[in-house]
Amino acid sequence: MKVVVTGSDQPLGALVCRGLAPAHQTTPAGAGVDLRSPEQVAALLQGAQAIVHTLPFAPPSGGAAGELLDLVARSTYVLVQGACQAGVPRLVLISRLSLLEAYPAAYLVGPDWEPRPRPEEPALAPYMAELVCREIARLGRIEVICLRLGELDAPEGTSGADALRAVETALVHQREERHHHWSIHHVATAGRFAANKEGS
């Protein structure tokens, strides 16, 4: 399968590229590709059969106020729209479990709990990516599987191995007819969200 991986210049994207390489043909898209450019995205997606969109998990920091939001939301919009136009059937979105950290730690918080991001750009950015993907997936032209991860390889986060396993599973997952085109899965190796670890 030809898989485009965004955010490939960040640790998670690089891990996904390396991990998928034995079984898939990966196309890394790092800082050298402007995902906000429809032309560059169209060229990137030629022949692609799936996308792993890790950019919202770890976008580059810095820039003026609002730049991070614009980068993540607009690049996600251009990417998903480009995927629909190119006939790419599936996108795996990597988002963050921190969208739910406002809930008491004693609660069993799962994907059916409403995100409550802090009103700060780094917290809002992956939420924007989720909303863009969810609303476009609702139209039925692309399937989006959202994987929410904790900090990569942190003591209470998500291990690289678990993250990679979840991505691999998402890429080959068979959506049943009449099921939604948007789904969320929590992937936590340890910490407060681990009770809802995928597959448990």
Partner: protein, 268 residues
């Protein structure tokens, strides 16, 4: 937060017809800071891009203030919010692939952040209610649709970017103590009807410009809301039974005067 019965109110994106209507309703009750990306002198001297029947903002003089503010620039937004009791966000860019995001989404972020930082009592956020977006989840075939219904913007650039701005504003309301009223609009028309208008039918989500302006006065004066973020359909109570106007009547004490019966009553 308490109602804003007097004091200073800043309006962003005031150069459009909704801004014109808001200015008319608020100018005698508040000291306004009227802002837009273009100078208000330029806007007030030109016809409305939305046609000859859409209102054009009146150019206000002191004690009111007119100021050029770019909603995408946080420092400008923050500066405009200082000393204000409330803010109204009327900014929007519809079809532009870049500005739709920077104005409708980043602009909403900038204003909510600045409003929270400045301790404003109330923010009135605005956006569209798209009654028909051409997909099966747009509620077009439903009736008695209430303003709390989750919006489904699909891939429509205008609808989606305003939706993102609304969700960001919602996060600020929930987490920062900012009280937000979101007004959703759809079809505007002038109060005054021409003979050609009569019997031509009416969009089921319609409001006159004049009633729209009054909704801002009601929104600022309304008592504390049941939750930090309340969403309202600003529409006339029409017999179609599609879009519910009762929440605005209940919480804002706003009810559209213009119900345009002459438009949906058979003529002759």
């Amino acid at each position: 937060m308490a109602a804003v019965k007097k004091g200073k109110v800043v309006i962003f994106g005031a150069g459009g017809p909704v801004g014109a209507a808001a200015i008319q309703s608020l100018k005698d009750h508040y000291t306004l800071k009227v802002t837009d990306l273009k100078p208000m002198t330029e806007i007030a001297g030109a016809p409305s891009p939305q046609g000859p029947r859409a209102p054009v903002p009146e150019l206000l003089s002191a004690p009111h203030e007119n100021r050029v503010v770019d909603i995408t620039n946080y420092e400008q937004v923050l500066d405009a919010c200082k000393g204000m009791q409330a803010a109204i966000n009327l900014t929007v860019v519809r079809p532009h692939p870049v500005l739709a995001f920077t104005v409708s989404m980043v602009g909403a972020y900038n204003l909510a952040r600045a409003a929270a930082e400045c301790g404003l009592k109330r923010l009135i956020h605005t956006g569209p209610y798209h009654t028909s977006l051409g997909h099966e989840a747009d509620y077009w075939n439903d009736f008695q649709v209430a303003p709390e219904v989750p919006l489904h913007p699909g891939d429509d650039l205008y609808a989606l970017t305003k939706y993102l701005g609304l969700k960001i504003t919602d996060c600020f309301a929930r987490e920062s103590g900012l009280e937000v009223l979101t007004y959703l609009f759809c079809s505007f028309r002038p109060r005054h009807l021409t003979p050609e208008d009569l019997g031509r039918g009416l969009h089921p989500f319609s409001t006159s410009w004049e009633d729209t302006g009054e909704s801002f006065l009601c929104g600022l004066r309304a008592p504390r809301m049941p939750s930090p973020h309340e969403v309202f359909f600003i529409c006339a109570d029409l017999p179609h039974g599609k879009y519910r106007a009762d929440k605005a009547a209940r919480l804002l004490k706003w009810k559209a005067r213009d119900r345009f019966e002459e438009l949906y009553r058979k003529q002759g």
